[in-house]
Symmetry: D3
């Protein structure tokens, strides 16, 4: 299992443990998450890439893994990931360059 996959699994394990302690909160968050990523004018895959772009500017490693993985499962290819990362760099400067590098690496290793 790649390092990226292991880290993503660990993150998902922590989410599961948290969800068990506060199910109402998670119900609310899942409602938001489902609403935010249903197909529309943006496809679901594209929406996961919007989330990736945001995560890159936020510098959230686990979020990058999570949303890159989701985008890939929904059929996003590397070319459109790069497009999302370019917007992230426009909006986030140097740190976004660093985390965009992590997002590309995650895409290739998940």
């Amino acid at each position: 299992m790649s390092d990226a996959k292991e880290k993503l699994n660990a993150a998902k394990g922590r989410l599961g443990a948290l969800a068990k302690e506060t199910p109402d909160l998670f119900q609310g968050f899942i409602k938001i998450s489902k609403t935010a990523t249903r197909d529309g004018q943006f496809t679901a895959a594209q929406k996961e890439l919007v989330a990736t772009a945001v995560a890159v500017t936020q510098g959230c490693d686990d979020c990058i893994l999570y949303h890159v993985d989701a985008a890939k499962r929904l059929g996003a290819d590397e070319a459109i990931l790069i497009e999302a990362l370019e917007v992230a760099v426009e909006m986030g400067g140097g740190p976004a360059v660093m985390y965009a590098g992590k997002a590309l690496d995650a895409f290739r290793n998940l």
Copy 2:
């Protein structure tokens, strides 16, 4: 002129003044910006909405005005703006709700 338009014009005026003092920096930034927003698998309009989603999570008022305005000029309608804002709220919680409200308001008044 609406309040949103006035604020956007003021921001653009400040950018112009800054660009005059550091043209090399702006040349670099414009190169990034053009690369990030050219048509691809995401249309240019969609990319401005990705930038809007990021700006909403960053709480940058002038960025919201700037990218909402650009998205609108490129033909984005309110329904797809809402889609981008939904992802922003997923990634930004309460503050993103507040700034998403400003983005919708800007869309209607620009």
Copy 3:
């Protein structure tokens, strides 16, 4: 009406307009919000102050107004607001000092 009250009302107006366009998202957010602020070992008023401390470190003006107002309505006095602001400054440095000043000002004018 004080300036703080006017700004809070404007923010609430924008939230209402947004909620109308994406009711499912708001349903999810309200579920989170209700879960987060119900009475527990922290009282509801104290939880609004935790939210205020976070908002101060995030530099979100409208969030500060919103959560200071909610805390005040739930019975928080100025002394406990100051306690929350002190933690915010510990965690946020100079900018938190600035926004803590705004939070105190909001408390006195809402």
Copy 4:
């Protein structure tokens, strides 16, 4: 020794090295920190949880370890930690969910 404990110790080691080079700065920071976490209407333990909520929205791993550890030593139980994390998620969305998972994990392993 758990992974969380090791990471916290490493962080404390780095703080010690830094404090030696800039004792005046640390004197100031300790003054802030002591003021922010003395017993009041919020207990000291609750204040460490306010700091934890802020740290979760900031995505600061070492801060989460530090303040979760302090809260636990002061007698906070898991139920009140969850309350603080719920407010963090309200204010921080998806990334806060990820870091809240880390905070719960830290609480159980410190």
Copy 5:
């Protein structure tokens, strides 16, 4: 009085009101602030510009006013302000461009 000066005065007024309620916290913050901005290999004016660069990437309007004003009083000219803003843009992307525009504007109007 320019708009920038008015806003800075209002911010200083709020800080004064806050300081009165939590003098110990302010004593700690002033200790940090004095330590951080004493002359060294960076002059005091340069240090205020480092603070300005940070404030620009944080998007803190009042901090920008405060530290631009301090830098100017200590003798910084516009050319060195621009240098600090260039680093801020490198580290902060689009939002930093927006707030750098505000910093230049503040310098000219304070």
Copy 6:
């Protein structure tokens, strides 16, 4: 090879992979970066420390490694690094204290 050096090399490897996929974006970023760090009233080394101070308040580990390394190569000594870190703590509070500890550690191990 120290842990810091290994992490920096890994980050640089990721940047190289990303640059290959989006050369225009990197051309723009390099233009910004070169403009931001040329000698001026701040020396190039000092500008790398301004970037370090920003990175510390942003909590970007790889950025800290990158800019501390660059500052050191350009001749910055530990004393001036500490000066930059002091401003970062003034502007970033507790999390900045944590990341400043990492910056000092990086300086000593790169």
